[in-house]
Structure formats: structure tokens, C-alpha cells
């Protein structure tokens, strides 16, 4: 059962890559900041230096969000793929992100100030993700094939987008602005004061995933086998949907929808690590997801002088062809 030498080597490589790329991430941007300045901002912060303020108030929050978004969405994708026994499942394709969007839209458009506050947006994004997680769970009990579930997820997404568009057309200018800014999605909107709560919530979600590695390992065999081996399926399903809602909700609330990470990264991890042990799969998805968004965001910042690339656009450009590749490989 242990971890093979090759797999632990890849894990260690990922662990080394993340701080290296994190440093690069902190140094790139509209203003060049040297590694010495970054080091000083981290160890001996002095608010008299503008560059150190930029590091601590702008670049560290953005870096944190890149790491958290990548890690969270990849873990969610992995959990959903195991739960539905479907390698093409993920928070985006099954409409969980859209559920969050719908609830945030509804809450902003109601015009109640509380709902448009940070806390209101987080709460609504979580509730939306949870509700649509339950809806997908319900449909997964009705349909037997993997493709049918994916189609239902896509249709749910399309349905919600239409509904959100309708809400937008019916809302006034101020509400529209708040929602549009949110829906564009980016890693930049988080302020350093909001970081602790986001870190706390996503760590709870990811820790939750590690707490259920044993049933996840068995769930790979299908629900019937898992039941025969003594797994309480109903409880595990509910825990997975809750973790999905927490992680997707918190990331969607602050970064907007980010596509394909949750689908592409866990598949890449499975192909690379060739195992079904979820301790390795979760650890690897978490690290590789974080690294993936980190590198995407470095690319975005390097391209910024020429054109502005939203994070959601870049992950789709990279992720969608990757997913097509996986499908072709499976159908062969």
C-alpha cells in the first residue's frame, strides 16, 4: 500500500516548485520589485517603502488567492470525480460554480445592503453551491450513464446563465456594476484584511477531504461494493457535497467562476501518479492545482503590458484542450 519512490519524488518536486514560482509571482507585475525587497517585506515589513506596501497589500493577497483557488478547485474536482465515478466530473461542468453565481446575483439584485456585503456574498455563494450540489446528486441517482450526468450539468449551467442574464437586464445600474465586476472574476479583488477568513474556510474544506480518504479509496469500486464493505454511503455523499460547496463557494465568492481547473488537474494527477490512493491523489491535486493557477497568473501578469487576460479565459484556453485529450485517450 505505501507510496512508491517515483510518486514521492514528484510530490517533493511539486513542493519545491511552489515556493520558487511564488517568489517569481511576487516579483512580476507593473512595477519591478527585487527579491531583496520581497524578502524585507516578508521578514521586516516597513510601510515607509512603497514597494513593500505593494508586496504586502497587493501581491501577497493575489498570490494567496492563486494558491488557494488552484488547490481548492482541484480537490473539489477530484472528490466529484470519485463520488460520481466519472473522470469528467468537476465543479464547473456540473454547474456548481453557476449555482454560486446565481445566488450571488440574486442577493446583489435584491438590493438588501447586507447581501451585497462580503459576508453576504460568501454566504450566498456557499448556499448556491450546496443547493446545486444536492441537485446534481439527485440527478446522479436517476441517470445511469456518465455522459447523461455531464449533459444534465451542462444544461443546468446554461439554464442558470440565462436566468442570471435575465436578472442583469432587470436590475439597475449600480447593482449591475457590482455583479458584473464580481462575475468577471479575478484574483486581484481580495484585500489583505479578507485573507484570514478565506484561508480559514478553504483550509477547513481541504482538511475535510483528508478526513474521508478511507471511504474515498473504497468509493472507487462503486457505491454497491462500498456498501458491502461497510461504507455509510449516504453520509459520505453528504460530506463530499458539503466540502464541494465550502470550497467552490468560497473561491467563487471572491474570484468569480474559474473554469476547467477542477476537471483538468485531477486527471493529470491520476495519469502522472498512476494510483487510486486518495491520500496521494488529494495531496497531489492540491499542490498541482496551486502550481497551475500560480503559473497561469504569472503568465497573465507578464502579458499585462500587451493585453489583459482574465484568469477564467486563460484556464479555459489551457484546460479545454487538455480535457478533449483525456476524452480521446479514454475512448481509444
Amino acid at each position: 500500500m505505501g507510496i512508491t519512490k517515483k510518486n514521492s519524488t514528484i510530490l517533493i518536486a511539486l513542493l519545491i516548485c511552489i515556493p520558487v514560482f511564488a517568489l517569481i509571482h511576487l516579483s512580476v507585475g507593473q512595477i519591478d520589485i527585487s527579491f531583496q525587497e520581497i524578502w524585507r517585506a516578508l521578514t521586516n515589513y516597513d510601510e515607509h517603502f512603497v514597494n513593500e506596501i505593494i508586496v504586502s497589500e497587493i501581491r501577497i493577497p493575489r498570490l494567496s488567492m492563486a494558491l488557494l483557488a488552484g488547490a481548492s478547485l482541484s480537490v473539489v474536482g477530484l472528490l466529484m470525480q470519485t463520488l460520481f465515478n466519472n473522470p469528467l466530473a468537476g465543479p464547473y461542468v456540473l454547474g456548481i460554480n453557476s449555482g454560486s453565481s446565481l445566488f450571488v446575483a440574486l442577493s446583489i439584485m435584491t438590493g438588501v445592503p447586507f447581501f451585497a456585503s462580503d459576508f453576504g456574498i460568501i454566504a450566498n455563494a456557499l448556499v448556491g453551491a450546496f443547493l446545486f450540489g444536492l441537485i446534481i446528486l439527485f440527478f446522479s441517482r436517476l441517470v445511469r450513464t456518465q455522459v447523461a450526468l455531464l449533459l444534465i450539468g451542462l444544461m443546468l449551467g446554461a439554464f442558470i446563465s440565462a436566468f442570471v442574464s435575465f436578472l442583469q437586464s432587470a436590475s439597475d445600474a449600480q447593482e449591475l456594476k457590482v455583479f458584473t465586476l464580481w462575475a468577471l472574476g479575478s484574483l486581484q479583488k481580495v484585500e489583505s484584511a479578507q485573507l484570514p477568513i478565506i484561508i480559514l474556510v478553504s483550509f477547513i474544506g481541504m482538511a475535510g477531504a483528508f478526513l474521508i480518504i478511507k471511504p474515498l479509496n473504497i468509493l472507487v469500486l462503486g457505491e454497491n461494493e462500498a456498501k458491502l464493505l461497510g461504507v455509510n454511503i449516504k453520509r459520505v455523499r453528504l460530506i463530499i457535497i458539503s466540502i464541494t460547496a465550502i470550497l467552490t463557494g468560497i473561491i467563487t465568492a471572491f474570484c468569480g467562476p474559474i473554469a476547467f481547473v477542477g476537471l483538468a488537474v485531477p486527471n493529470l494527477v491520476r495519469i502522472l501518479f498512476k494510483t487510486q490512493q486518495h491520500f496521494i491523489l488529494i495531496s497531489a491535486s492540491l499542490l498541482m492545482g496551486a502550481l497551475f493557477i500560480l503559473i497561469c497568473d504569472i503568465v497573465i501578469q507578464l502579458l499585462e503590458p500587451h493585453f489583459l487576460l482574465p484568469i477564467n479565459v486563460l484556464t479555459s484556453i489551457i484546460g479545454a484542450p487538455m480535457v478533449i485529450l483525456f476524452i480521446l485517450k479514454r475512448l481509444k
Binding site: 469500486l221 464493505l229 491520476r270 487510486q276 490512493q277
Partner: protein, 235 residues
Amino acid sequence: MIRTEDLKIGYHSPLLQVENFTLQKGELYFLIGKNGSGKSTFLKTISGQLSPISGRAFLNEKLSTEIPFRDLPKTVSFVSSHFPIVDFLKVEDFIALGRNSHTSYFGKLQASDSQVINSTIKRLQISHLIGRFTSELSDGEKQLVAIAKALVQETPIILLDEPTAFLDYSNKTLVLETLKRISVEMEKCIILSSHDLDMSLEMNCPFLVVNFQEKSLQLIDSSVSKQDLLRIAFE
């Protein structure tokens, strides 16, 4: 090991009346009957996936419906007719999943678990399959590996749903001989459903036969003739 008392089984309405009988440890039983006659229903009832319509079944002297959900995998193991199709699942990881109800919260294998797994692998002579992916195995190898997973559960009762259905002659013989040997050596009570009447007769084991006319499940001695067996099960 398995004792039935006025047991009626079925999904929503009674499908079969099970005779009162006691199945012993150290024996291999062949469950014979027409398609759709209720063989799977019986296996599902004994393995706790289905509640009896009425009457009682005792597993290892405990009433089946009173065995807690978590303890059932320590009493009955079940080898389903379809081997799960999963990418990148190593044979040793697959077999180790059978230890689920014995391991602690995170499922880490202790020395005692590894010992059970290793001795099972040795007993079934499948050590050459360790390190391979389950998706790469032949049908016969898959069946042996699935039996290994059931054995590491260390249950007194093992049920198999048509374990020889997809196998060629030599693999059928290998699987059946192995099961027979296990039932004797390890004193297990093993029931397997099968369509292969000739093969079953060769093994010289007792039969559980679904009497299609009477809608009942009967225990029949191994000395039964093929003609009688055919008459009871298929007429």
C-alpha cells in the same frame, strides 16, 4: 453457519420460500436455478443488501437483520459478478480494501493486516499479479483477485455471484478447485451461484436448488443425479 427459519425472500413481494436448513462451515454450496428464479435475491438477502419478506436467517448464530451495518463486512463477504473497471488501481491496493472494516479511521494497514493479505496472496498463488493494475488482468486473474479481497475480510461466510460466468474451461476449474480447497482448509461456508450444471456435478458438492415449479429453495445432497437436478431446477 447459515440457518434459515421460514424464510421468504423477494424484492417487494415474496419470490421464493426458502426451506429450513443449516449450511455448514467447511462446505462449498452450488446455487443452481433458472435465470430470474431468485438466485441473486437469495445472495442479496444473506449478504444483507435485502431484507427478508418474512421469516429469519441466522448468520454465525446471529439474526441477520440485527447485525449492525458496520459488522456485516466481518460476517459475510460478497464477490459480485462484475469486476469493477477502474484505471490505475493496483492489485495490492484492491485486495487491501477488503480490510476496510478491520483498519482504523484513516485505513492504514497494520502488521496484522499485511500478514493476512500476504498469507492470502500466497494461498491463492497470485503473488505474480502484485504490482499490476487490475485493469490489465485477464478474466480468470480478476476472479482470483476478487476472491482474495473477499478472503482478507476474514468472514466465516463467502458468497459469489456467478464467479465462473466469463471464464474458459481451465480458469473455471482453477477457480472452483481453489474455492473448494479454501472451504475445507479455512473452514469457510461458501455459496456460489452457477449456470454450469456439469461442472458443478463434477465438484461433488451439495446443491441449493431453486425449484421453479414450487417456487422454493431446497438443499440437496451432492449425490443427486443430473436428471433429478435438471427436473427440479429447470422444469
